[in-house]
Symmetry: C2
Subunit: 139 residues, 2 copies
């Protein structure tokens, strides 16, 4: 949980604009707060992520700016959902998916602390994707 400087026990509000201004890396989520054993992460994204699957957890996406597409490989076949700014979506556990943002997007994620960005199984990780469980934000 983000806290007042010098006092680890007092949580403080976070302005998303300041959070996004504090980093430039793409596909490299920053942890803005925690809720019990879950993280709230924000990320700047552009281009295509990697096909991956979280076997044991759903993954929540909220698009704060730009437009995000998520390709899904479901039992019924492959489909793409499109999330304009101000849209949200939950990828169910066990569903292989690949986020994609040709023009860039700013997103907020909610998932259990320790969840890797590339899931439990994934295709070869391209250089532009940060395989991480998130980085605490510094603001």
């Amino acid at each position: 949980m983000n806290t007042e400087p010098g006092n680890a026990s007092i949580p403080r509000p976070i302005a998303l604009d300041r959070a996004f201004a504090s980093f430039d890396a793409l596909w490299s989520p920053r942890i803005v707060t925690s809720v019990n054993d879950y993280d709230v992460r924000v990320a700047k994204v552009e281009g295509t992520h990697v096909w991956h699957v979280h076997d044991d957890t759903d993954e929540f996406f909220l698009v704060l700016g730009g437009e995000l597409h998520i390709d899904l490989r479901e039992p019924a076949g492959e489909r793409r959902v499109t999330l304009p700014q101000g849209s949200l979506f939950t990828v169910p556990r066990g569903i292989e998916h690949r986020p994609h943002a040709p023009k860039g997007a700013r997103i907020l994620l909610f998932e259990p602390t320790g969840t890797p960005t590339v899931g439990d199984r994934h295709d070869e990780i391209p250089d532009h994707v940060d395989a991480t469980t998130g980085t605490p934000i510094q603001i």
Copy 2:
């Protein structure tokens, strides 16, 4: 999880604008999706909620429109945090708090499914506050 009409297995994106347009009640959260055993809820708020505490869970607030204040009774004393649009905050478990939005606000909440809006302990509930664990959104 919100799903395609007629197919309970296919989740679909939710546009926040449509979600907020679907209800008018104040202090009466609507569940827009679920993430494992957590809910994502949205609420329209105006005026003052009730002092209450969640003994066993943190509670996440994201302000999507307007401005929200949260009064907190912490061991060090009472304070108020102010969350302009685009700000987020987590109220730690066990901390008595009271949301307040004199000019109105639209908020998003993350919390475990079944978490009551008035917590585990609370002052007398005013008529304008819906004591609920959330209502599934209908859009």
